[in-house]
């Protein structure tokens, strides 16, 4: 076959277009368009029927009834919650996943079965998993409550989900729980790429187990830890169902994060304010994505 004629750069891109166009159309229609729609909505005024009434400037963000300044909403507490939510969940998830991955990396019978059990919270819908916790923690019919009383940990059943603060901490637990499988798998993949001969050499040179871990294995795990941390930050930040199901107190309360607050605003204050807060969240996501692209450089090899 004759070698294809050298085409111009522009033509090469044009030739790729039919193969990529459907993807581009979907991303434009379902990601870019709603983003623009939100940006527009966030700067508009709406009456109580949701009818648009002209420009609102930045009122939806920081006006007298703005997303970040609404009088009856404990905004500083919710911002603090959001920071605590993301940092505590991601940090504890990483630490536990390091331990779990280390354990799963040992050769033993039944390791494959254990890997399958660990994916349970990953494969199952977060809504269903959270609902089990919600049921177990009910003060009257909840089995976890009964267990806590029977073992003497609690004197009497406690309505964990009826109080925003305790509900928040239960949600932290569940968020860690459902984040563990992905994180463990990512770190395990990193562990399995640590070459045995380096460890062997360090052993011959007299390094003990602890030294081998902290001087060799841990530094080599950094890339997979970075990936796991950043993907978890964005997932945990955007998590809706866990807090929504476990925090049974209605309305604005001290159990919200900015993500669940969006949906509270959407129900109570309409599209303008909800869009404004969504945009703030969107900006945070973009920052995390930018850090991900810069640190992990996923396009380096493809």
């Amino acid at each position: 076959m004759a070698p294809p004629q050298r085409r111009g750069r522009w033509q090469e891109t044009l030739a790729a277009l039919p193969w990529l166009a459907p993807t581009l159309v979907l991303i434009a229609g379902v990601v870019a368009y709603p983003t623009i729609l939100m940006a527009w909505t966030a700067t508009r005024k709406y009456n109580s029927y949701g009818v648009e009434r002209g420009s609102a400037g930045l009122d939806n963000f920081i006006g007298p009834a703005g997303a970040l300044t609404f009088p009856t909403v404990p905004i500083p507490r919710i911002l603090l919650n959001t920071v605590v939510w993301v940092t505590v969940v991601v940090f504890i998830t990483l630490v536990l996943s390091l331990l779990l991955a280390q354990f799963l990396n040992k050769p033993f019978r039944g390791r494959k079965l254990l890997r399958l059990i660990i994916i349970l919270p990953w494969a199952s819908s977060v809504v269903m998993t959270t609902t089990v916790f919600n049921y177990g923690l009910q003060p009257d019919v909840g089995l976890f409550n009964r267990l806590l009383v029977d073992t003497g940990i609690l004197d009497a059943a406690y309505g964990f989900t009826k109080n925003p603060t305790s509900a928040f901490w239960v949600a932290v637990f569940v968020a860690i729980y459902v984040s563990l499988p992905f994180t463990t798998y990512t770190i395990l993949a990193g562990l399995q790429s640590v070459p045995d001969d380096i460890l062997e050499a360090a052993h011959v040179d007299g390094a003990n187990t602890v030294q081998r871990y902290w001087r060799i294995v841990f530094p080599l795990l950094r890339p997979s830890m970075a990936v796991a941390a950043l993907i978890n930050i964005i997932n945990v930040f955007n998590s809706l169902p866990i807090l929504k199901i476990l925090n049974e107190t209605p309305g604005y309360n001290t159990g919200h994060t900015t993500t669940t607050l969006i949906f509270e605003y959407k129900a109570q204050l309409g599209p303008g304010v909800a869009s404004a807060l969504s945009l703030v969240n969107f900006a945070f996501c973009l920052v995390v994505i930018a850090v991900y692209l810069a640190v992990v450089q996923p396009t380096r090899e493809v």
């Binding site: 979907l26 939100m38 349970l120 819908s125 009257d140 964005i234 959407k266 996923p298 493809v302």
Partner: protein, 287 residues
């Protein structure tokens, strides 16, 4: 793993792992990751009186397997929700296959200006989620009434899962030597024909991974369905669950039979692709 292989691997560095420690570790880990699903199963087998008892009993008086039959005729009738979830998941999976396959094939085979920008765009989509765009998606699709709302959810879930499919499939396509394709092209096949007849059969593990991942993710999706589907008759499972918990009747047992039906099939599917997930989710950054 064979005993000899593991023995050799650990002989130089470590003592063989302590079997009792391993056994205890296994039990603790397995119990930790299985207990909510065990509770789900146990609760799905209780009678209405049993599950409403205060304080509750740990085990059902008598396992009520017929809950799995009577739930469909209960006042919530979750059959419709199961249908909605199935239609949306199958639709999104087909959409992704149709659209991601050519894109993955092309970026694996060709270098062209704009390729890197395309990859960046795909990555950004992978990391964004319907939750942060839910308010915009609601405004965009709120007039899609009736079954059209399922189409909206197919489009949304398809788009947000495209990137995983593109990443994982392009890695598989790239692993096929170019010569295989070229031989087909010389024999007179077109590009599209080459992709379908020659490359696709060779990358089936990637395709299966993509199919299962998109299906399971859509099956479990919550935020977009929550804002878009108000009509109870059209709600998928994740959104319909609270309907079991009415003001007077709280049918936890039916809620959990439905949850079991929603959870068990996807766990089985997921277990088939478990080994290949990380490569696609981390865009190859961790293999």
């Amino acid at each position: 793993m064979g005993a000899t292989a593991s023995g050799r691997r650990w002989s130089g560095i470590n003592k063989a792992p302590n079997p009792i420690g391993i056994a205890i570790g296994c039990i603790v880990v397995a119990a930790f990751f299985a207990f909510p699903y065990a509770l789900m199963l146990i609760s799905s087998l209780k009678s209405r009186e049993d599950i409403a008892r205060i304080p509750p009993d740990y085990l059902p008086e008598q396992p009520r397997w017929d809950n799995y039959l009577t739930v469909w005729a209960s006042n919530v009738a979750p059959g419709g929700a199961l249908l909605a979830t199935t239609v949306i998941s199958v639709g999104a999976t087909l959409l992704v296959l149709l659209i991601a396959t050519p894109a993955a094939y092309y970026i694996a085979r060709f270098r062209f200006p704009g390729r890197l920008s395309f990859l960046f765009l795909v990555l950004i989509t992978q990391m964004l989620q319907p939750t942060v765009l839910a308010v915009g998606l609601y405004q965009q699709f709120r007039d899609w009434r009736g079954q059209l709302v399922w189409v909206a959810l197919i489009l949304i879930n398809g788009t947000f899962n495209l990137s995983f499919a593109i990443w994982i499939m392009q890695a598989f396509f790239a692993s096929i030597p170019k010569e295989v394709d070229e031989a087909a092209l010389i024999d007179g096949a077109g590009r599209l024909q080459t992709m379908f007849r020659i490359s696709l059969p060779l990358v089936w593990p990637g395709i299966v991974t993509a199919i299962v991942f998109v299906f399971v993710n859509t099956w479990n999706e919550y935020a977009a369905a929550f804002v878009l589907v108000q009509d109870p008759a059209l709600q998928p499972l994740t959104v319909a669950m609270p309907r079991f918990l009415g003001l007077y009747i709280r049918d936890w047992q039916y809620l959990f039979t439905t949850a079991m039906v929603a959870v068990v099939p996807v766990i089985v599917l997921f277990s088939f692709i478990e080994r290949r997930l990380i490569g696609g989710l981390t865009a190859g950054a961790v293999k």
